[in-house]
Every structure is written in C-alpha cells, then in structure tokens.
Symmetry: C2
Subunit: 582 residues, 2 copies
C-alpha cells in the first residue's frame, strides 16, 4: 500500500510540546503519532495507530501460540463483582466510578480478574474442561493521580491481560512458565532491552511474580541488577543473604555502658571507639530498633512491632510495606510511648521488647552468635556485646533494610547496582484468591470439587509504543524497529521535475505491488523539509529519489545507522524487498 503524505492526516511540529519531559512523549507528539485530548487521554493519529496495531498483532500471535484464547469484555462494569473481592473499596480513588440513569454503580475496568473468573465459572464445570487460558486486548482505565509522560502513563490505555485457570499448582506453574516464555518472545521480537525482575520476595508465602522492565533512564521504576549475572529484582524483592551463624562460646559478656551525648549512631560509634576498649567499631556493629505499629485488614486494634536493623542501614519503606502486606503500618505517636513506659526513646533494646511481649523481628544479618551494641532500655545507656542466641532470641527475621549499591547479589555472583526501568509486563501467580471469592470449582473425577488456581499476566500494549520510542531515537527523531514501524520504506521525492516524480511514483507502485508498505512524500515541500520529516517520523529505510535518477540511481538510507548508498533504480525494488523481508 502507498500512503501519500500529500493527503496523510499528519502535521509534524518543530517544537517540543510544553508539557513533555521524556523523549518518547516529545517525539511522538512532534512526529504526529499522538495528540493530547485530556489529562492522560490521547488520540492516535494515523501513523500512531499503525504502530499500535502492529504491536497488538505481535502480542496476539504469541498469545495464540501458547493456546490462549482471545475474548473481550466490556470496559463499563457493574460494581457487584468488584464488591465481592473488596477491590471496589481497595482501589480507592484510583478507578473511575459512575452511576447509570437508574443510580446503579459502575466502574471503568482497571483489570478484569473478576469478570474472567465469573465467565469461566459460567461456562465450565468439569475437571475435564481445564486448563484454559483466556486473554483480551482491551481499553483499560485508571484514575492516575499524576498522569504523565504522554502515553507512558495515561488514564485510558490498551492492555493485554490474560488469565490462566488450572486444577493444581503444577498446572499453574506450567501456565506461568508458558506466559513468561511468550513474554520473552514478544519483547525480543519488539527489539526491546529489558530485564525480568523478581517482583516479590516470596518471604510471606507469596507466589511467583515477575515484572518485565524496559531499561530506560526516564523510567519510574527502580530496580537492582547484578554486576556479574542476569539477576535483577525490584528492591522489594531482594532477599538478603544471611551470613552463617557464629559460635557463641568465647564471646565477651554483655555489659551496659553509660553513654551520655550519643544522640546518633555516629556519635555512639565514636563513643565506643574512644572508650579505651582497644576495639574498633562501625555503624554496622550497632543494632537499631525501629518501633512501629501494625493493623490487619478489617481490624481496629494496632499492635506494636519492633524491627532491629544494623545501624548503618535505614528501613526501606517500600520493602517494609511489601513485607507486612496486607497489614497496615504506621509510626508510633507520643500516646503510644506514654502507654508503654518500658519504651525508652532512643535507648530501646531487645530486653524490654521481649520482656514486655512486643513482637521483635530482626534483619537477616542479625544471626545467632553476632554481638551488637544496642539500647539498654534506660536513658543515656547502651549495652555492648549483646549476643544473639545467648542474650536474646528475636521472634523472627524480616527483610526490610535498604538495599544498597555494592551489596552482594543474592545469587552469589557480583554485587548489586541500581537501574531504572518502565514496567512493560507482569506475570503473577494469583493462586486461589479470585477462585475463592467466587467459589470457582471444577467437579473432580471423584465428584468432589477442586478449587481452581489462577495466574494473571499483563502487557501494557499502548505503553509499548512509547517504550520502544524511548529506546529507539536520536536527536533527529524516531528510529522504529522494522517490525513495528508505521511503514516499511519512506520514499522521498526530492525534486520538482516530472521525471523525478514519475520515477518515484513508479518505484512506489512497484514496491506496493511487492507487498511493501510505502510512505511516499509527494508533497510540494522543499527537500530539506522532507528529509527532516523523514528523520523525525523514523521509518527504518529512507529512499531518496532525486537528481541521481538521471544517472539511474536512487539513494537508500538506513535511518538508524545513517548509512547511505546509491542503488541502481532497476535493482531498487529487489534491494528494498530484501531489506524489509530481512
């Protein structure tokens, strides 16, 4: 097919849009792929829609290849199923809610777990029906607090969401792996640089969950990766490697010291280093006890929780919330200290906590046999050489201390470095949460019900347009990978005389006849304007039909590498078909 720029609904812009900060947003607007309609709401202009559709096709092919079946739900959904799973409440202000003319509550679907579960329940009954995997490529809605970066984080967007339904955990593991493999194929085919990060540590018994993050400096998600292996994880999911336990025998006895004027870890370490003990300490030798309170969902009562971490690390808020989920967590208030006078602020130690029944969890590094400087439960006093397993026994461990660059990689290879990325996919073993909510059972061979177990798998399809742009651009514009480009070849008519125009039309016609998608710049604009637009639009191969035609050649340029060369016009079609078909 030939798309003529003389009539194409496209106007490129010379200036970046005022509200754009990231390259993909600037370039997709400037090159006429998308236009802003509302906060977080964009229209797809012809070239943008083509890229979106080509990405959809890749996703669809790979989903079909693993036997997933495409269906489609409405976006406007009744409240009741989301009430049943409590998500109507949990989503808070993050979903769009509305009432119909009769006053009934609806929402615009953010994801469709409930509907998929109910639909499978409606159709299937026997164990023989399973497993099944269903998916849709559909418009979704989230009322983001801060829609940003154009189509990277919109409020209306296209997602592929799929759900697997299995009879047992082994089946779920297979479905999960099939999706993970399909996602690798999809993102590889799209030419993306990405990492697969563990999304949860599994410490609280959670099931497998991995995120696919496209590597991008502008990404909102931070993650850590190993310097020497392909290990990558969200900071929430990093599992600290516990050192080996140490022998207790021979450790000096615990001793309480009067430690005035030591309000910080640094001053405390200085105090002991200057105490004439002949020993050298660092902040990592101190044990900082952080007091919190937690509350389980649906309960009124808060419970105290103390967390002991080495003094050289802070508690990481995201890791803390992930570790304690679904419980709520809050800092103590003055009233809490007043109600628990054994808590001596600044000097809290394991003894008072354990003696008074406060749940006390420690960092995995706080293993049996390690000795610590920590609070002595009275003002201006600390205890030294308090040994785990001898002087106190914590109630357990909790892995919430901050992860730092240089920490050993949990897989034992290399150390961790921080990086930024954009979430493009998520594979997640949901387990039986939704099946429980809707009593999704299969009748087993023994006529007993089998509770179904589910997986949930998402790809941000419209976001991928921006993510690819974010990885494929230079200072002149976009540089689409061939598979998703809005056209295969961009033919520029660079000259006004009839022979040039006729030659270009002939070439474009022959290419189209060979099944090549041609973007033909047949406008009356100057060659300079046309070249600049071609670079901005980013079709992978640019063919310039101009003065060279008189000597029987056209110029073929690779948009990404900048390589260019003359090709005899008689060989141009074969040459270009070869390039496009690869």
């Amino acid at each position: 097919m030939i798309t003529r720029m003389s009539s194409l609904f496209l106007r490129t812009l010379r200036e970046d849009p005022a509200d754009a900060e990231v390259p993909s947003h600037k370039l997709l607007v400037r090159a006429g792929y998308v236009r802003r309609v509302a906060p977080g709401g964009y229209s797809w202009l012809p070239l943008g829609l083509r890229v979106l559709r080509r990405i959809e096709d890749v996703v669809r092919e790979e989903m079909n290849a693993i036997g997933a079946q495409e269906i489609q739900f409405p976006a406007l959904l009744p409240r009741e199923p989301y009430e049943a799973t409590n998500r109507w409440t949990e989503y808070g202000p993050n979903i769009f809610r509305l009432k119909d003319r009769k006053g009934a509550d609806y929402l615009l679907g953010p994801t469709h777990e409930e509907l998929f579960t109910l639909t499978v329940k409606g159709e299937y009954s026997s164990y023989k029906d399973y497993p099944v995997t269903l998916y849709q490529i559909q418009t979704k809605y989230r009322d983001e607090a801060r829609p940003r970066a154009g189509i990277l984080r919109g409020r209306e967007f296209v997602m592929k969401d799929s759900y697997s339904f299995d009879l047992d955990d082994e089946g779920l593991a297979r479905s999960y792996q099939a999706h993970r493999d399909a996602y690798v194929k999809i993102f590889d085919r799209l030419g993306l640089e990405y990492v697969v990060v563990k999304a949860t540590s599994g410490a609280m018994g959670g099931s497998a969950s991995e995120e696919f993050l496209a590597v991008a400096e502008t990404g909102e998600d931070t993650f850590v990766r190993s310097t020497e292996s392909d290990y990558a994880a969200n900071v929430e999911a990093v599992v600290t490697t516990a050192p080996a336990a140490q022998p207790i025998d021979g450790k000096p006895e615990a001793k309480v010291h009067h430690t005035p004027n030591t309000p910080t870890i640094a001053t405390l370490v200085d105090f002991f280093n200057n105490a004439g003990l002949g020993r050298e300490f660092t902040a990592a030798d101190t044990l900082k006890n952080v007091l919190l309170k937690t509350r389980r969902p649906g309960e009124d009562k808060w419970e105290l929780l103390a967390i002991g971490v080495p003094g050289d690390r802070e508690v990481d808020q995201k890791r803390l919330e992930a570790a304690l989920e679904p419980a709520e967590v809050a800092m103590l208030e003055e009233a809490d200290f007043a109600a628990n006078p054994f808590l001596v602020k600044g000097y809290i130690g394991p003894k008072a906590l354990l003696d008074n029944g406060v749940r006390y969890l420690v960092d995995p590094r706080v293993v049996t046999g390690t000795a610590w400087i920590t609070g002595a439960d009275q003002a201006d006093h600390h205890v030294m050489d308090l040994v785990v397993g001898r002087d106190f026994v914590p109630n357990g461990t909790v892995d919430v201390a901050e992860v730092r660059e240089g920490d050993p990689s949990p897989d034992g290879k290399g150390t961790l470095v921080a990086a930024r990325g954009i979430e493009i996919g998520h594979v997640f073993q949901l387990g039986r949460k939704y099946a429980d909510a809707f009593s999704l059972d299969a009748l087993g061979p023994d006529s007993k019900p089998i509770r179904i177990t589910m997986g949930s798998y998402g790809i941000g399809v419209s976001r991928l347009v921006a993510v690819i742009a974010e990885q494929y651009f230079d200072d002149r514009g976009l540089m689409w990978p061939r598979l998703v480009a809005p056209a295969d070849v961009h033919v520029v008519i660079a000259g006004k005389d009839d022979a040039v125009r006729a030659g270009a039309e002939k070439l474009a016609g022959e290419l189209a006849a060979a099944g090549i998608e041609v973007l033909l710049d047949d406008r009356t604009a100057s060659p300079g304007v046309k070249f600049a637009d071609a670079e901005l639009i980013g079709v992978p191969t640019i063919v310039v039909v101009g003065r060279g035609l008189a000597s029987g050649v056209v110029e073929v340029k690779d948009r990404a590498t900048g390589e260019r060369g003359d090709v005899p016009v008689d060989e141009a079609v074969a040459h270009l078909v070869g390039l496009v078909r690869g």
Copy 2:
C-alpha cells in the same frame, strides 16, 4: 488455522436465555458467541469476537478504499467540548457522566463530532489541506433507557464513525456520496437485505440524511416503502404529494349548520349525509383543527399553534416532532383554553384562529379551492363548504398527518406499505454546526477564512453481528454468510475409531495448510451432539468424517441450503477450497 472444539472456550446451551426475545439474541447466546455481563453489556467469546473482527475488516477496507484515514480517540472525554456544542445538556440522561479524582467532569463518548472537529482544527490551517475524511472503529457508550435484544441495543458497543471535512457544499455532496456508495458496498458484501430510507424530509431546510435499515420483523424502526419502486423512507421523512389547486369559481357558499350530537368525525359525517343535502361526504371532507403549543429552545413562553388535517387522519407524533424541531411541543391544558375563550373546544374553526392571530398551518392536501366541513367556533355548530383561498388563507402547510399503507408513494410510483427494520448505518450532511461551534476555518487562497462544512457517517459495527444473525438463521441455529463466519469449514469427527480420527485430522491439517480456517470437532461427544452444535454454530460448510471414510468419502453439507453429498476424500481439500474461495 485449526480451532479444536475439545479446547475451545465454548459451551453451547440447549435452552434460550430467559431474557431473550429476538432470534439473534437467543442464538448468539445459545451458540456461545456472547454472554451478558451487565444490562446492555456483553462479553465476546472466541467465536463472537471472530465474527466481529471480520465485520470490522470489511468496514475498514471500504473506508480505506474511499480515502478515509483511520485514527482513534479515547472513550473517556472531557466535558468542555460537549459543553461548547450544548450536547452535554442535550443528551440528558442518555450519556454516562462521571467525575475524576479532582472532580472534573467527563463523559463516555456517544459520538465524537466535537473531538474530530477540534483535531482537524488543531492540525490543519490552509484550504490546501482539504478535503479530509477521518474515521475510527471504537467503543461507544449510551445509557439507553431500555437496553434490549442482546447486542442489538447495548449500552457499550462498537461503532465506525467517520467525518468528512470540505471547503464547500459541492465537496460535502461528493464526500456524502462516497460514503453512501461505500456503505452500499459494505452492506452488500455482508449479504444484508436492507433499504436506504430518507431520514428527514428536508422541510425545515435540513441537509441530506439517509438511514440504512436492515429489513427485520424484530426491528425497532418502522418505515414505508413503495410497492412499485425502491422508494423507502422513515415516516418522518415522507413528503405528502399535494393535489393540484382547484378552481374557486362555482363552489357553493359556505354555510353554518346547527349540528347537535356530533361529538366525533363519524357522527358529524353521518349528520351531513343524512341532512337531505343530496351530497355524500366522508371523513376526508372534514377539516380537524388540532390545537398545540410550542416553545423554542431557551425560551420560556409558549405559543399557540393550530394544525388543520383532513378528518380521516390523525396527527403523527413523530412526524410532528420532526417537523417542529428544535421547538418543544405540548398539548393544551385547561388553563390555555380558559385564557383563550375564542377557542370553542370541539368546534374550533379557521376563522377564530386567524382572527385571533393563532398560527394556523394545514396539511398539504388542504390546497386552494378545496371545500371543507369544519368547526364554526360556536358550540354545536359546524360550517360546510369552507373553501381555502376564498373563506380562509392558512399561514402555511405542515406535513404531520399520519402516513398510511395505501398512500401514494411520493415518487409517483405505486403505493406505500409499512415495514420494520434495524438501523445499521446513517449518512448525514452535518453542515457547519460543529465548524461554527469551534470556528473551524481554512485560510483561503485570498487569505480570507473559509468555514468548513462537515458530514457525519456511522455504522453500528457490533450491532451488525446481531443483524446478520437476524437475517441468517433457521430453527436449528445460525447460518453465517461466508465472509463473516467464525470459520470457513466445520469438520466433525463422527466416529470413535482411530482411522476416522486420523482421517479427519489429516483433512483438517491439509485445509489449514491451504489457508482455510477450520473448526474441528474433536470432542468425545456423540455424533448427534456434534451435529446439533454444528447446526447451531452455523459455519457455512460442514464436513462429516465418519463411516464413509472406509469407502473413501466424506460428507459435505451446506449449512444454509441443507444440501449434502459425498465427496471422495482425495478430492475433499480441492473441493472445499473451491467452495470457500467461491
């Protein structure tokens, strides 16, 4: 591709759904194409989604063929553009409205005139840019008071809406005709029986507007068609052919009669027929004056309006509203009669109306020289031989009397009969309404602005799935036209022995290799169940691989005609490819 029924997400139902009244609704649910999720909200199961996509493809091809360019808008739209055109108010309870987390007003788009207009205004500026036609195939929302008939009238549905933008009326006429022609192609290709009806009479200066109605007994729309030509129109759009004016000279003089006990037209006609006048009257000789009041948009004050129609016809409410639009119309209340004592209820005549300045419009049949029996403006009195142009001169005509079967067709050929249909498409010359609202101008060659004129064109894409079903079914199930069927060939394995299964698998494989979409019933169910499902699902060609295989044949059955015959298995692929490719 082979789709295996052993794993296809499909369960057919033996019973009609309780809420289904029309055949398409019953069959699409029973055959597992769609499922109800909410009032007017349906999910598309795998087979239904395939039919929908195939219809979308046909629509897309024909839109691209007339140079329309595909784009896509969000469904979630800000209030402001709809405020500018007053549609935010006019839609009343018929659209879904919502607020975002910041309290800003949004709606779910019912149609996108505003957005298309603003987008063209954003990109284009010169007269050289025009004409342009844009379209989208997109999910739309309307809060129907009575969602019904499954996907025939849903609250969330897929529509193709396109808009043409031209510099002048001639351009608009060309764009309109191009769309009209494309629609004819689309509906012809889809195998639909339909009529194109004039949607407005043009009496109020409206521009061209035609509706495409699929002929269906279950349709919500009524229309009339000629017995002898292809004339068809909505009743609102029927233009009554006015008879020729008659000479006034020689008509008897008007005379008032005392007519007690004539409360109805029938009793009045009887009275005069029995009055010894030697003349014979019918209800068509009486002139009934209907009193109404009207109010223009945005005004408080109601004005009286009298309409004179022949006594054998009622005023048609839909024709009345269409004729007076955008004015509001209401019946008189007792207070109105009290305030206008010259209105003698039951005996209102032209004289009192005209003498008292009431606007008085008459049916087109009430032409100069015709004589009427009508009210004499005093109780128990009527006047006879009141002649138009001699005894009274109405303020004009209004074409709102009911249209009846047997009325002459406005094109002069044959008479009118009533029929029912379902609206599947609408082509409409919008004119400059939206361009005016948003000041959409092109800069002309003389540097003066040219106000753009628009056309609006819609096709109910998801509705078409039901409409086709409504025209292609029998008592055993659906009978899809080949172009939109969810598969090309339905291969039924009718037998349990390995040779039959292997033969069917081989045939299916060879068909798939030849590019045929195969639905393969490889379930363990009985042949009877499989045959019934095949008839219900409605793939146009059913191939039964069973006992005949031993003697080298398979049975090929045409779902629609019921014709069946044995085909040698060696020739089956060629035979079936021939059938499918037509």
